[in-house]
Amino acid sequence: MDPVIWFFALGVFAGLARSDLRIPPAIYDLLSMLLLLTIGLKGGVELARAPMAGILPQAAAVVAMGFTLPLLLYPIARKLGRFERADAASLVAHYGSVSVATFAVGVAFLADKNVSADSQLPLFLVLLEVPAIVVGVMLARRNQAAGQWGRLLHEVFLGKSIVLLVGGLLIGWLAGPIGIRPLEPLFFDLFKGVLALFLLEMGLIAASQTKAVRQSSLFIIAFGLMVPVPLALIGALLGWAIGLSVGGTTLLAVLAGSASYIAAPAAIRIAVPEANPSLSLTASLGVTFPFNIFIGIPIYYHIATVIHGGVG
């Protein structure tokens, strides 16, 4: 198993054992900033190499998936979970949106296996962050005042994660493979180490959710465990359909199967404040994130190889 995953486990252990290990918030901010910029820059450099021609229709398909997934999940949350409208909308916004850390673990997983991925994936990561949140808010309040919408879109599109990802993409694209070289030691060479420290903190956070997980309804746990694989399957099929490689297909599956715990909670907290934030967070952070990095990603890779006829 990739050693970065052990850092997550170490964080979970330290958290459960009530160690005094803490990552200061400023360091957490630094680590997440580095991860976001790295993913953006890497994607931008690759995009500079690739022909932009075929990407537009692919991007449209990916955005369409971003709008569709939460709509598929909403009846489940309402009917099976018996959630109020606000809570159900919040939950599907989280699962329709994506997790940057899960994506980063996926990237590291492929690198370990020497599988290369299409260059447009970081772009798709950006594109998938927003639609599900918009759908979630629309489900929660159909007659939202226009002013609120402005604020929400501002919050989402100018949230730091999108600014850093898109900024990194643009800078990487402008700089190209040669211009980026002086930045490689910080952003590329340290990537795995930074991811390891970040996952250590994620482990501590996930451990702090265990009480919430234990107190939460069985439905939330079941949802967090059982929704990722079908979502990822949809992502993998779409990846195959739009002509991505095995690596790209795996990463699109990872994106589809992952749940947001940074952008979505912040946006929903502002747009749908009556939703209980701990419900969605417990599921996405306490259940789905660990599931994905330990079990999900290898499965999604397997699915991608099977779809591409790689097995048999």
């Binding site: 990552i23 918030p25 956070i205 912040a266 907290r269 502002i270 404040p273 009556e274 701990s278």
Partner: protein, 101 residues
């Protein structure tokens, strides 16, 4: 050194509404405010600064009685039900009191 009696309004709440809340406070006529970071526990669970998305802030406003009352009213109407929040008021004596409305 002119000094006079004013109210100190203290609000402890979620960091995510800092920008909006501070704008509201200025709109309600306060001449200023001070923000610092905090963590804590209350009726809505533990809030730990370790994870930025759930950290708290403490906002303090020095103002006259009328504005203190309108802040308390406005803030509690707009935010109290949906956000972790407490609000309290105390009596203080400020120097250069004239600058605090």
């Amino acid at each position: 050194m002119s000094s006079g009696n004013r109210k100190l309004v203290t609000i402890i709440t979620e960091a995510i509404i800092e920008t909006e809340l501070c704008a509201d406070i200025e709109e309600l006529g306060a001449s200023g405010f001070t923000v610092s970071n905090a963590r804590g526990s209350g009726s809505r669970g533990i809030r730990n600064a370790g994870w930025s998305a759930s950290s708290s802030i403490r906002i303090e406003v020095v103002c006259g009685e009328a504005i203190a009352a309108s802040i308390a009213r406005h803030v509690s109407d707009k935010y109290y039900d949906n956000y972790a929040m407490i609000l309290f008021e105390s009596d203080i004596k400020v120097i250069r009191a004239d600058k605090f409305t």
